[in-house]
């Protein structure tokens, strides 16, 4: 067995307990917390009998262990339970909405990575200069300004006043790629603001960290140009950090899409969750949380492995 395969297997094994905890957590969040879902679902004015009926229909009157068993059964079947409102399984509701969210997150990541890394490197390279301070100011505003607020202002300006973009709605890529892009561009850019700020700040400090290392001085003592030092010596070391950041960014993009989808009325998973919560469709919320949780266990695993393989010190030992 090569070290690489062994590393992958070990990481996979380490992920198993996390997957288990994630699925139990997603269950517990709505079943064990002090709030009584039946009361909340039935509403404030409900009679005790009505609450009891809700409780029975949700299976909440059964023993805890049985509920947990049913929960795992749903997971194993791959349908992740049934929505109370939508008349479909959570899995199929999610599959329907996923392309929107993935398009949004993917597009924003595609915008973020080059700009964030570029700006961060630029600021690090020109540290202390006006370029550094301008980039860092922009980045600071990016991580500080609430996206739904900027989204509101942007819709008012670009969609309503200038009419450049539709203010809401979604067109599938397969149906019309141009319309798809037009519908998603503004939301993606707004989603990217935070991410660009975050990534450029992180890139800058990682690069500065690398700049302080002895081997950069060695490189300079060879007469290598500053640009080559940045692009070859520093960046390859900082890459490890950028990979780690990508995992966090993806998580931020998925989280941010909840709000952005709401503002732009995009029919994605984020909107599904919010609708689910407002409609008190607990199984739906649970199911989506679980699927997202499991997805990120997988993403973190990939990031972890990519990280190991980007660094020869880990790769060979």
């Amino acid at each position: 067995m090569t070290p690489a395969i062994r590393l992958i297997l070990i990481k996979l094994l380490q992920a198993v307990p996390v997957v288990l905890i994630v699925s139990i957590l997603a269950f517990l969040v709505l079943n064990l917390l002090p709030g009584d879902p039946a009361v909340i679902i039935a509403g404030d004015q409900a009679t005790p009998a009505a609450i009891e009926a809700v409780r029975h229909s949700l299976g909440l009157d059964r023993p805890f262990i049985v509920q947990l068993g049913i929960w795992f059964l749903h997971i194993v079947h791959g349908n992740f339970g049934n929505s109370l409102v939508l008349n479909q399984t959570v899995a199929s509701a999610m599959l329907q909405r996923l392309p929107v969210t993935l398009s949004l997150a993917g597009l924003s990541l595609a915008i973020t990575l080059p700009i964030g890394i570029g700006l961060g490197s630029l600021a690090a390279y020109y540290r202390g200069s006006w370029i550094d301070s301008s980039v860092m100011t922009v980045a600071l505003v990016g991580v500080s300004v609430p996206s739904f607020w900027v989204a509101g202002l942007a819709v008012a300006l670009f969609s309503v006043v200038l009419g450049w973009f539709p203010s809401s709605g979604y067109v599938p890529f397969a149906q019309n790629p141009a319309q798809w892009l037009r519908a998603l561009l503004l939301p993606s850019i707004i989603l990217s603001l935070f991410e660009i700020g975050f990534l450029s700040r992180m890139t800058r400090s990682a690069m500065l960290d690398v700049f302080g290392q002895d081997f950069i001085r060695t490189a300079r003592s060879k007469g290598i140009s500053e640009w080559r030092i940045v692009s070859k010596h520093a960046f390859r070391n900082a890459l490890v950090m950028v990979i780690t950041a990508t995992g966090i960014l993806l998580s931020a993009a998925i989280g941010g899409s909840v709000v952005i989808e709401q503002v732009f009325a995009l029919p994605g998973v984020g909107r599904l969750v919010v609708e689910g919560i407002l409609a008190r469709d607990y199984p739906l919320v649970q199911g989506v949380m679980l699927i997202y949780g499991l997805t990120f266990v997988l993403i973190n695993l990939i990031v972890d492995l990519a990280y190991s393989f980007a660094d020869p010190r880990v790769r060979y030992d």
Binding site: F215, R217, S221, K232, H233, P312
Partner: protein, 331 residues
């Protein structure tokens, strides 16, 4: 400036940015490095010996240091004022450097061959393949066994001693006229230190380059140098040919260092020690900075900063009472 001086430093003062403003790390450093010679620079931490070395190639971290005064001449050009582009040709070309810590001085994500051939490809326009085969030759030259295999490995696979050999291979790749070795053996074990010193001595003879050997260890200096510069608290306090310095040191600080080492041969005997501690660079001390620790301090030492005075041919001392007693009366 002597005719055979390769690098000539005059009145160099370098300052660092601190919380309390700019503070001088070295002051009024003047020294020559002659072609093919081996100059030893010795001093304790805070003496400014590494700052001096890094100043020659302007390798201080950007924005943290400035040369307030002085010049560093190479081939009639002042390196302190040369444009960055010109300086890059000097770095790794005319003047190369080996650093103290071989564990952190190599880039962990690039192969050995890549790091050695980089300056060859840059300064001599070699292709990637040519660079690699030159790198393997250089690894042989620094006596690394199994060079072709080692060339494709990453630094973390090598021991400290091997990494320092790789650092030396990088430094000599373009046949520099001056090799600056900044405490090249301090981080290494005793037997490995001896191996590296032997390697450097052999290479110096083979390639005919000058070496500036910086060390806190008088033993290393005694073994390696032709001429020695002793630094204390940012200033040169004494310079002399190695034989003179070790047989007849004139500065009280040099004397103190010698006695603290020599007493060690007798078990149980108290060592000669220099009382007190090295002052911080921003501590203000009137007159001679060694004054507070000096057993022979006089009123004149506190009155003014002593000058570096020649007391015989090639022997300079920065100590007012001593130079008054010893300087040739030909003034």
């Amino acid at each position: 400036m002597p005719a055979d001086a390769l690098v000539s430093i005059r009145d160099l003062t370098v300052q660092f940015r601190t919380d309390r403003g700019w503070v001088s790390a070295i002051e009024d450093i003047s020294l020559d490095i002659n072609a093919g010679e081996c100059l030893g620079v010795v001093g304790e931490s805070g003496s400014g010996k590494s700052v001096t070395a890094l100043s020659i190639l302007r390798l201080h971290a950007r924005g943290t240091a400035r040369a307030a005064r002085g010049s560093i001449m190479l081939d009639g050009r002042d390196l302190l004022r040369a444009p960055e582009r010109d300086l890059r040709r000097v770095r790794g070309g005319d003047i190369a450097m080996v650093f103290q810590d071989p564990m952190s001085s190599l880039n962990p994500v690039l192969t050995i061959a890549d790091q050695i051939s980089e300056s060859l490809r840059l300064h001599q326009g070699l292709s990637r393949a040519e660079g690699r085969s030159r790198a393997i030759e250089l690894l042989d030259l620094v006596r690394i066994a199994d060079a072709p295999r080692r060339a494709d490995e990453y630094p973390h696979r090598l021991s400290g001693g091997m990494r320092q050999r790789v650092m030396i291979a990088i430094a000599i790749a373009c046949r520099p006229r001056l090799l600056i070795a900044d405490e090249p053996t301090t981080a290494l074990d005793v037997t490995i230190q001896a191996q590296i010193l032997e390697l450097l001595r052999d290479l110096r003879a083979e390639l005919g380059m000058a070496v500036m050997m910086i060390s806190h260890d008088l033993g290393v200096i005694a073994e390696f140098a032709h001429r020695v510069v002793v630094m204390y608290a940012g200033r040169i306090v004494e310079q002399a040919p190695v034989g003179t310095l070790f047989s007849a040191p004139r500065h009280p600080y040099t004397e103190g260092l010698m006695t603290s080492l020599r007493g060690r041969d007798i078990p149980g005997q108290r060592l000669g020690s220099i009382p007190g501690r090295v002052p911080d660079p921003d501590e203000s001390i009137p007159g001679c900075r060694f004054g507070p620790r000096c057993a022979h301090v006089e009123a004149v030492c506190r009155a003014a900063v002593p000058a570096l005075v020649s007391i015989s041919e090639n022997h300079d001392v920065r100590c007012t009472p001593r130079s008054q007693a010893l300087a040739p009366a030909c003034l």
